[in-house]
């Protein structure tokens, strides 16, 4: 299942709609890497509200996305990790350290606005 990526002003929003195969995660990583250049995006928001599992492969891919996007000169924030998903991630030993997270899409946009403002870029969504 492909993840739709929406362009919202200076940001890209990837809304995961259903459980993803490993191949879908890899394809999400690759399209974000490419689209951040195509649209000259300042930030990437990955919404995982719909996911009931974030296993080691998913976490590693999300970390990779954040690292790649940073190297491309933009910010990444993961939003919508559900309480029980967070609980099992921590039990498994996955803490997504070094990756920005926010409660939901609204908080994620707020985070992006703060980050890009600090960098001297324009704001969006206000």
């Amino acid at each position: 299942m492909q993840v739709p990526i929406l362009k919202q002003g200076p940001y890209l929003i990837a809304s995961v709609q259903a459980a993803l195969r490993d191949a879908d995660l890899i394809s999400l990583r690759d399209s974000l890497t490419e689209k951040v250049g195509t649209y000259r995006s300042r930030g990437v928001i990955v919404d995982v509200t719909a996911l009931d599992v974030l296993d080691s492969f998913a976490c590693r891919t999300l970390s990779d996305i954040a690292a790649i996007i940073r190297l491309r000169g933009a910010h990444t924030v993961i939003v919508g990790i559900q309480p029980e998903v967070a609980f099992s991630m921590v039990q498994l030993g996955l803490k997504l350290e070094g990756v920005a997270t926010a409660l939901d899409l609204e908080e994620g946009l707020e985070y992006m606005n703060r980050r890009t403002k600090r960098m001297g870029h324009g704001q969006y969504g206000k």
Partner: protein, 136 residues
């Protein structure tokens, strides 16, 4: 190989099968009365075990069934393969160990999140990992 009401059997040959095993295992967990945090743990453990099967043995099976040990009720999650076997079981249970470029969290992580954990491996004949989550 087919699942029944009280047993889940999924052959793992591709990443698509990992999703099926996770989904069917979670549904069995729901039928057994597990709550959301435990269901997430069950689904995550299945995911990790199923991925290990693909990575190290190319294929294998995830089997889940209900267990009762008075007064406790729970779910057994078993991953079994006929792969190369694990030469040093102690080593793979240490955090940070990995031979596949993964995070090395698979088995130690699963052991941490489940209540009981056992691993039997024979060189050249395969590995069986058996874990139990009790209902709280």
């Amino acid at each position: 190989m087919a699942s029944t009401e009280n047993e889940v059997r999924v052959l793992i040959k591709s990443d698509e099968d990992i999703l099926s095993a996770r989904q069917e295992g979670r549904e069995l967990g729901v039928r057994l009365g597990f709550g959301p945090p435990e269901l997430a743990v069950i689904a995550t453990a299945i995911s990790e075990l199923a991925r290990n099967l693909l990575l190290y043995a190319k294929n294998g099976s995830i089997i889940c069934w209900a267990i009762e040990r008075e007064p406790k009720k729970g779910i057994v999650i078993q991953a079994t393969d006929e792969g190369p076997g694990i030469p040093d079981v102690e080593a793979v249970l240490k955090d940070g160990y990995s031979t596949s470029g993964g995070l090395g969290l698979g088995l130690p992580g699963v052991r941490r999140m489940m209540d009981e954990f056992a691993i039997v491996s024979h060189k050249g004949r395969g590995t069986t990992v058996t874990t139990i989550k009790w209902k709280s």
